[in-house]
Amino acid sequence: MTLRGDVIGKPRRRVDGRAKVTGQTKFADDIVLPRMLHAKLLRSSVPHAKIVRIDTSKAAAVDGVSLVLTGESFPIAYGILPVSHDEHALCRDVVRFVGDPVAAVIARDEATAERAMRLIEVEYEALRTFASPDDSLAHPEPRIHEYGDFGNVHKAVALQFGDVDAAIAGADHVFDDLFYFEGNTHLPIEQHATVATKDQDGKLVVYSSTQTPHYLHRALAKALSLPAAHIRVVATPNGGGFGGKSDPFNHEVVVAYAAMRLDRPIKICLTREEVFYCHRGRHPVLMRFRTGVTKEGTITGLDLQTLLDGGAYGSYGVASTFYTGALQTVTYDIPTYRFRGCRVFTNKPPCGPKRGHGTPQSRFGQEVQLDKIAETLAIDPADLRLNIVQPPDSLTANFLRVGTIGLADCIKKVVDRSNWRDTFRKLPLGHGVGLACSSYLSGAGLPINWNDLPHSGVQLKLDRSGGVTVFCGATEIGQGSDDVLVAIVAEVLGIDPFDVRAVTGDTDLTPVDLGSYSSRVTLMMGNAAIQAAERARELIADAVSVKLEIPKGRLVFADRRVFDAEDPERGTSFREAVRLAEAKFGTLGTTGSYTPPRSEAKFKGGGVGPSPTYSYTAAVVEVDVDPETGWVTVPRVWIAHDIGRALNPTLVRGQVEGGVYMGIGEALMEEQVFRRLPAKLSHALVHKFPSILEYKSPTSLEMPEVFTDLIEYPDPAGPFGAKEVGQGPLLPIMPAVANAVYDAVGVRIDSIPVTPEKILRALEAKAAGKAPRQGPASFPDIPWPETLRVTPPWAGGTGRADNEPARPTHRRVDAGIEARAAGITKEARS
């Protein structure tokens, strides 16, 4: 049973392509139900305060208002991570940022709801506002939350793998650099929207623009005290997600509650300003990289500290914190490593997972520092990296399993394609090139709620019509997950993608898939789909083999037929083959599941970073910098991505180019920043520009031409060998831009975004004989917890910390649900 490649690997129109170009894709706000009411949320106008009094009487009296809600109706907290259930649908006692929802109005239309909303009176008693991590570290009281490690520190972690101090002390050179990465946001063009209704049986149905229907399902069950079995969550296709629709949101819980109470459908669609308040975007991160390097340019040890500004709630923040330290070792050979990360609460919209989740910030620091190391050692930055690329099939110092790694090929490819050897340090003033690399997960190896259940499930239904329907909880957010699902089933069964119908993202109809995050869908759903489709093929082959008297092993599924490999004329149509199987076995249905392999990282905190396989990327960015104005333009980007195997090269290229685009935005202009209103006003800490116009993002005019190469060595862990592509290609862009700016005008911008203002200031410093650099000057003293010491594998470590108290280990029941090596080996799988 080998891959013919009739579908897989061919550039194709995505299965939902027609719907998207005809306007027929139904997004959440396109849903209209009879008797539907509309909701608006009143959001806090102050950054941190006790709620003293809320008077909703005037709002409730407005003609057309059905219901006014406050935090009283929502006593139960929820949140995405089990360790930080710190959100209420509406604030009960305290508001924690400008934009925190305090009340809701349900009315016959949006305008009425808004009018009534403005009549709600809220009396606040101001609390100290924490505007920065420095504020939060300096003042433990008042606490923004009653939980967290201490004071206003949400989480502080310290991990050490080997004797990093000795390794750095013994190095030929020590590089000690500070970097800062400003926060930025996803800015999906679709504003979040949700429609909730009570179905004819009295059960709750929620249609929402969510990337994670399964987690929303769980959150609704908890927050509303309803059995999960009586809640149906339907993830509508997302009009862009990028991580920004991965948390359960206030508005979702509010309209779900209101729909049940009023027994009417309720819709809410957020304004663009509100989308900025939902945020959950890139954490601002301050970083200190101390790296020991030999004179040959190999790394002896890395000592990394990160400080994350988490905003007002937990969100994915604990994971984000660990991710700032997780993937350095997956890219380069770093034999000893210490990572200390700290996330503080501040009175700003909560940060969370944005494309690259916690890794782009420290990737920026590491890749710029490598550029400085190369400069000091007079080694070409490409050669420096080629020399330290992590070898394949290795276990990193922090016990992450690297399988296939195409990074060296990626570097060679972009060096070659960009003419790097003739341009680096050779272009005239104002023109430069920069190189950087990255790695990313192909799916988080552990689920958010630790359990022994599959991460992705797929069901297949086939019948005498010859039609095949595939069911999976995966969520289409534009990345093409429906296309991957259909393509895999079509490939395995030898039919056309058009013959397959996909039903996805519906907790009533589809088996659980954990959601569209961590670049997990292609790998996990894909492996589950292969298993389900191969099981169906087995049944069909059994029936055809008996009927046509052809040995099963000789049957080929292709061209909508099932036939004898040795005599292709002998065979039957796929439709007839399914009929034979239905007659022989009864109603046909198969399932597939995927659970990632167990991680070797057993220490506390080792749950963040493991993945079935990692993708790799290298990029060269060309910049033109005007030395008079500091203005940067990016004419061209060359990028090579280790994709394992491109299932649909058209979509893969789109993900690469989209990642480059978002990286250019983050590198040059995107900032989610805040300011204090003047004291004579409220002195509130407010978002500087919660609008698309002023939150600058690249248009078609700023977008460079991108030259994409895909490096394809099929990975045994991925479906047909595929790895992720949704996130990795974003990561090298920011450091490559900064490195190119240095090549162009000789100044180091160690702070993202690289704005003209920073470049000008650095050029002025350079002209004045000062350090030609813009970036942070110090890293605060943080009371780190006791460092967990883990002996690296090369020193005989077991993956457990030497000084960790014994804790109950998580045991996964082996239910035969590991699907590995899917699609690229010939071994028959059970």
Binding site: R14, K20, G23, I189, G654, G658, S700
Partner: protein, 157 residues
């Protein structure tokens, strides 16, 4: 009080009663059930709601519907002809120019206006024409490719 609004939408007469403060976007989506036209800001910043009014691409979120009295509006639902996709639609679908698809209707309408005016635009002209339509997914490259491909298709027809 609602006022009568009579206009042509996708070649068909539309006769409806709408609130005088409603935008064209709201009338299209809410009164005429043409939800193919999207919104990303309702402030004229993102371009998602672009439609053609008398052949000119305009932001429907900034137009009061009653300004369109007697005028001809074309939305993404009006791009197909005789059940066949417009060349722009074919090329957008084939070449990956629509990822999430949310900005796509506005971009298609803006691109159609460009090709109607200039059948053979340069890549730079396409970039300029689409610079008011934000797309967060694609990085624009496959969109530019698709518009170029559609322009060449239109010629060979």
């Amino acid at each position: 009080m609602k006022l009568r609004l009579t206009l042509t939408v996708n070649g068909e007469p539309a006769d409806t009663l709408v609130d005088p403060d409603k935008t064209l976007l709201e009338v299209l989506r809410e009164d005429l059930q043409l939800t193919g036209t999207k919104h990303g800001c309702e402030l004229g910043e993102c371009g998602a709601c672009a439609v053609l009014v008398d052949g000119v691409p305009l932001l429907s979120c900034l137009m009061v519907a009653h300004e369109c009295e007697g005028r001809a509006v074309v939305t993404v639902e009006g791009l197909t002809e005789d059940g066949r996709l417009h060349p722009l639609q074919e090329c957008f679908a084939d070449l990956g120019a629509a990822q999430c698809g949310y900005c796509t209707p506005g971009i298609l309408m803006t691109a159609k206006a460009l090709l109607d005016r200039e059948p053979h635009p340069s890549r730079e002209r396409i970039r300029e024409a689409l610079s008011g339509n934000l797309c967060r997914c694609t990085g624009y490259q496959q969109i530019l490719d698709a518009v170029e491909a559609a322009a060449s298709l239109t010629v060979t027809r």
